[in-house]
């Protein structure tokens, strides 16, 4: 059984989403992946929809430093303070919560807690979570800063990796999407194209 990897810590939380700061600069969980955070008595699940690397202090911007340097790693080696002045955050849309072995594909009663750890779910857990595709309706209706269709496609591509027969899963997902987007053919096709 794979163990979920700790990837960050919640720094903002609301009913519908949470923001986490990564422990490793430049290493957020992949777009569309399933992450979770403890929210007693169970765990809240989210799908990563946005990641950003920026200066920790609002008034300070990175400047180009590599004009005379051959490799990018050298910039960080020559300026060791940089790693302490930058951070990578990611945002996850809440798509459900779990208690024990049961998953609920609707919004949890309470938001995540600040400073709770965020884990990238293992493939096993992702497969269990996606046994029902009800979470897609939460995802499709979401109001996100990035194009929602990109995230729908990214998450389905991510979940498909948990299955031996990826194609079968994607076909099943496609059918679910067709039901949810029955009046939006253009949108449906746009997502389906991104599933390849």
């Amino acid at each position: 059984m794979e163990i979920a990897a700790k990837v960050g810590e919640v720094i903002e939380a609301s009913t519908s989403e949470f923001v986490a700061q990564c422990y490793q600069l430049h290493e957020p969980p992949p777009l569309g992946s399933l992450v979770k955070t403890k929210n007693a008595p169970g765990e809240t699940y989210g799908i990563v929809y946005h990641a950003e690397t920026h200066s920790l202090e609002p008034g300070r911007r990175p400047i180009a430093r590599g004009e005379e340097v051959k490799e990018e790693e050298e910039i960080f080696r020559n300026n060791p303070q940089l790693a302490k002045l930058l951070c990578t955050d990611f945002r996850a849309l809440v798509v459900g919560y779990g208690e024990g072995n049961r998953f609920f594909h609707y919004l949890p009663p309470r938001p995540a807690r600040i400073h709770s750890f965020v884990y990238l779910c293992s493939m096993d857990e992702a497969r269990n979570f996606a046994r029902s595709l009800n979470f897609l309706s939460l995802l499709i209706e979401a109001n996100l800063a990035v194009p929602v269709d990109e995230i729908v496609a990214a998450s389905l591509r991510h979940f498909s990796q948990a299955y031996d027969d990826q194609q079968a899963f994607l076909v099943k997902a496609g059918k679910e999407l067709a039901l949810l987007l029955s009046g939006e053919l253009k949108r449906l096709n746009s997502i389906l194209r991104r599933l390849k």
Binding site: R60, F76, R77, N78, P80, Q81, L82, A83, K84, L85
Partner: protein
């Protein structure tokens, strides 16, 4: 009524024109000063004697080396450590309910070489106890409140204190330069403005104690302490030239030139700044000869921590670097100070990166200041104390009724 810019603009134009005119005169003075410096360079012994015996109304540097000496930067070590501290403070506010002040020190350690790493932190300290906010003489009969410029001095002492603490924690096997911003000379205490017990508290039991800790730490390892002064306004070396040009020996300004109308030989270089001189004398990367500070406060109080200084031409500007005696005495420590300061300026776009990061960590914004006082008032109110503040302050910020 706001500032009448139209009227001011005319005056600004007039100022610019006058400055332009005096540029030519200044250039001539500078050329003359450089020639004097070069010609006097060989007279080390006689100049030294003239400096020792002279009584001038301006501060003259002590000389250790030929005036026009200049040294290229030695090669930089592969692995080295830079330490820096910088501070800011929230001053006592007479109109508040509690007499207290905050000193916030930014602390930086940067490791370069095989295993680069960085440590950036800040340490805020709230001072409120009677013995922390007021200095008293041993008998207790005299007191001096720590605020305003005296608080600035206290802050400088704390910067050195934390730098020494930081130095204790780093590995002893790597060349290390510890940097401070500003002068090592506590000018705020000069001129007998404060009674002796103030100098005792802030120098004897303050700065000098920490300089001594650093000196002890530096035994058996390459640890240097230096303070970095950007855009220095000092004239101590120009004043050596003034002394050299003086026709009298021993030099005595009060005796020979008390009358303001008399034209003096030394006026030919007076008004120039050391940095203008060395900007011309040094090429990029070079440092000047070593000089010593003859300020009365150093001579009277600093003992074995006499302050020396030199000038360095970095890519960005001409800077003054001050070091204590135990750094000045060792060529190796001077070398690593010189080369690492240049290295830091290169990495920091013209200013030592360790110092600029320490400054960033130390900064207290206006919003921070407001929040701090709000916290104080809330905390005191929670303690059920009558929050007494001046009516003036209340009239400025009615936050609650």
């Amino acid at each position: 009524m706001s500032l009448d810019l139209a009227q001011i603009a005319i005056q600004i134009d007039s100022m610019a024109a006058k400055l332009q005119a005096s540029e030519e005169e200044r250039k001539q003075k500078l050329d003359f000063a450089l020639n004097t410096l070069r010609s006097q360079s060989a007279n080390l012994a006689s100049l030294k004697r003239k400096i020792e015996t002279g009584k001038t109304t301006w501060l003259v540097a002590g000389i250790e080396d030929k005036l026009d000496a200049h040294y290229p930067a030695p090669p930089s070590p592969e692995d080295f450590i830079v330490l820096a501290t910088d501070g800011s403070h929230i001053d006592v506010d007479r109109h508040r309910s509690a007499r207290c002040f905050v000193i916030n020190i930014g602390i930086v350690r940067l490791n370069y070489g095989q295993t680069p790493s960085a440590f950036l932190s800040s340490l805020p300290m709230l001072h409120f106890k009677e013995e922390d906010v007021v200095l008293s003489s041993t008998t207790g009969s005299q007191q001096e409140t720590i605020e305003g410029s005296l608080l600035g001095v206290k802050r400088s002492v704390e910067e050195c204190h934390l730098l020494a603490e930081l130095a204790k924690e780093v590995e002893a096997n790597l060349p290390t330069v510890a940097l401070l911003d500003g002068s090592l000379v506590l000018w705020g205490l000069a001129g007998q403005v404060y009674p002796a017990f103030v100098a005792d508290a802030l120098l004897e039991n303050g700065l000098l104690k920490h300089l001594e800790e650093l000196r002890q730490l530096s035994k058996g390892r390459q640890l240097a302490l230096a303070s970095y002064i950007s855009f220095p306004r000092s004239t101590e070396v120009v004043n050596v030239l003034r002394l050299a040009l003086c026709p009298y020996e021993p030099v005595d300004c009060d005796r020979y030139c008390a009358s303001k109308t008399k034209e003096r030989d030394c006026d030919n270089v007076a008004g120039l700044l050391d940095r203008e001189l060395f900007e011309q004398l040094l090429t990029e990367g070079e440092c000047s000869a070593l000089f010593s500070s003859h300020s009365s406060i150093v001579k009277e109080h600093y003992r074995e921590h006499q302050i020396y200084f030199f000038y360095v031409k970095t890519a960005g500007e001409l800077v003054r670097v001050e070091v204590p005696q135990w750094v000045a005495e060792g060529r190796r420590l001077l070398d690593i100070t010189h080369t690492i300061i240049l290295d830091q300026c290169r990495r920091g776009q013209g200013y030592p990166v360790a110092l600029s990061e320490a400054h960033e960590k130390a900064v207290i914004t206006a919003a921070d200041r407001d929040q701090f006082w709000q916290l104080v008032e809330r905390s005191l109110a929670r303690q059920d104390r009558m929050v007494k503040s001046s009516a003036k302050a209340k009239s400025k910020r009615m936050r609650w009724i």
